[in-house]
């Protein structure tokens, strides 16, 4: 690794990002601007998450990277290999073994511990962006905790569809103060954000924003008293491991309309199968 800095970024950049991270941790849910750098992958592939990971990664860390819950998809494989090469850190696919987890769109099924850090890749850090186009105005709304508009959106959903129709990136209130976009994790994962023992860091590279939820912080999904938040999942069992409580992906398996529901968290599914759990469709062909 001669000629390269540890974990790709130069020390001044990491210092700048760490300062933004400290501020973000100090004000849970508040979006802190930072000087996002060009990274060797396109915007939307995790440039924000990868910069945070590079800034907090140490030589003794064990890194896990997941994309939609899976360890073996393009985004996860390339980011994991990127840090294995530029930082020489140990990598893993086991949630319990990792000290640092970078994720896109999922929180692992295995509960995280207080010695772990989870880094989310965030495409749109502003939860009000679809409702209020002006960023000047949304900043003012955050400053004044003026969040009636977000509830108007929930009201509209219930009036039109009988329920809140947001299934991912479901807005949350952090520490009773800041409205926050939890990145496009399914609403199913929202309860895991609440009082999580691990430190949660969020990076949006294109939008140049960092925010954080410190360990054991209250994170509440927005709802109405008479329409409480519900974490929904597909009403099936995992075809491979038979899990009934995990978040499922629906996979098309042939040209005849055949479908398979499997755990989106591959580590969770593999661990269950190793422990002897078998799903209805766990044929050798799969």
């Amino acid at each position: 690794m001669q000629g390269y800095n540890f974990a790709y970024l130069d020390e001044q950049t990491k210092r700048m990002i760490r300062r933004a991270l400290l501020k973000a941790v100090a004000i849970p849910g508040h979006q802190v601007p930072f000087g996002s750098r060009e990274m060797p992958l396109p915007y939307g592939w995790g440039t924000g998450g990868i910069q945070i990971t590079a800034s907090v990664l140490g030589p003794h860390d064990v890194l896990k990277v997941i994309d939609q819950g899976a360890d073996d998809t393009t985004n996860a494989v390339s980011i994991r290999r990127f840090f294995a090469r530029t930082a020489g850190v140990r990598t893993t696919t086991h949630t319990a073994e990792a000290t640092l987890i970078q994720t896109r769109h999922r929180i692992p099924e295995t509960p995280l511990r207080d010695d772990q850090i989870i880094v989310y890749q965030v495409p749109q850090p502003e939860p009000l962006s679809r409702l209020e186009p002006s960023r000047v105005e949304t900043r003012r709304m955050h400053a004044l905790a003026d969040y009636g508009l977000m509830h108007v959106k929930l009201y509209e959903d219930i009036a039109r569809f009988g329920q809140v129709s947001i299934s991912y990136d479901y807005p949350v209130m952090v520490n009773q103060r800041y409205l926050m976009a939890p990145s496009p994790i399914p609403a199913f994962d929202n309860p895991k954000l609440n009082r999580m023992p691990a430190l949660q860091l969020f990076g949006a590279g294109r939008e140049k924003r960092i925010y954080a939820v410190p360990p054991y912080t209250d994170v509440r999904s927005l709802d109405f008293d008479d329409h409480p938040f519900r974490a929904s999942r597909a009403q099936h069992t995992c075809g491979l491991c038979g899990a009934t409580d995990s978040y499922l992906d629906e996979v098309v398996i042939d040209n005849r309309g055949g479908r398979l529901f499997v755990c989106s968290d591959t580590d969770h599914c593999t661990a269950r199968r190793t422990a002897g759990h078998v799903g209805a469709e766990n044929h050798d062909a799969l």
Binding site: G148, H151, I158
Partner: protein, 258 residues
């Protein structure tokens, strides 16, 4: 009549470049009172309304507001969060063009409920019941609650704006030409509605209008403005039946059947 003013402006000056929009205006408003500010275009009526409501800062002078506890607040020295809180609870603003105030992509019910939700209402059933109640009060059919405002007529939009503003029972409402741009029969109905709502809810209103007939129908008191100054003020009938200032005399005599 209460002895203490609800809102008072003292020595208000504001110039746009070399044009003095307000040239030393003193004005008082008592609780439950409807004050009309009349005058020709460019006399500073709307500027005065914006200064009184804290939306524009005067070059000099102060606006004092008395809260329900009797405490006086300097509107222009108030921290932004408090002013915004006032604007979404104790105060209301009715624009001439309802599209400025309404959210055109949100249903009628959502529009009426927004101020309630901004104040922390978190029960869908209650919010909806209040929205239905207010739609009924402004004479909009209950089955239009889930329709978008763009399917509403001009008069309905204005009534929806009024429902959205009054849902939190404000003590003070600023109205900028609320009947402007509506045809005469719709205007008459709207004026009737405003008059009955305001009387029933005991709301103080600052009403800006260029239409003397509107002022005569609604206002208890009237203030006549010319070139940034209040030239005459008094009870509506007194001012309109026996105008003292030459400009007021001109204004009254220029209106048919005023």
């Amino acid at each position: 009549m209460h002895s203490e003013t609800l809102l008072s402006g003292r020595g208000l000056h504001l110039s746009f470049g070399t044009i003095p929009a307000l040239a030393g205006v003193d004005i008082d408003l008592w609780p439950g009172e409807m004050l009309a500010i009349v005058g020709e275009s460019g006399s500073g009526k709307t500027t005065l309304l914006n200064v009184l409501s804290g939306r524009l800062h005067p070059d000099s002078g102060a606006v004092w507001y008395r809260d329900p506890a009797g405490q006086l607040h300097d509107v222009h020295a108030m921290p932004a969060p408090e002013l915004r809180k006032l604007h979404r609870s104790d105060w209301g603003f009715v624009h001439q063009d309802p599209r400025q105030n309404l959210r055109m992509t949100v249903t009628a019910g959502g529009n009426v409920g927004e101020r309630l939700m901004a104040q922390g209402a978190r029960n869908y059933g209650d919010i909806r019941a209040q929205a239905l109640d207010w739609l009924a009060q402004v004479e909009i059919d209950a089955d239009r609650i889930d329709d978008l405002p763009r399917t509403f007529s001009g008069g309905m939009l204005q009534r929806l704006q009024i429902a959205r503003t009054l849902v939190t029972h404000p003590r003070l409402v600023f109205m900028d030409e609320p009947t402007g741009g509506l045809d005469v029969s719709v205007q008459a109905r709207l004026l009737d509605l405003i008059r009955s709502l305001v009387a029933r809810l005991q709301i103080a209103v600052v009403l800006v209008t260029h239409d003397i007939a509107v002022a005569r129908l609604l206002a208890h008191r009237i203030a006549v403005m010319q070139r940034g100054l209040v030239v005459e003020t008094g009870l509506t009938d007194q001012v309109l039946d026996d105008p003292q200032h030459p400009y007021t005399q001109l204004l009254v005599s220029s209106v048919l059947n005023a």
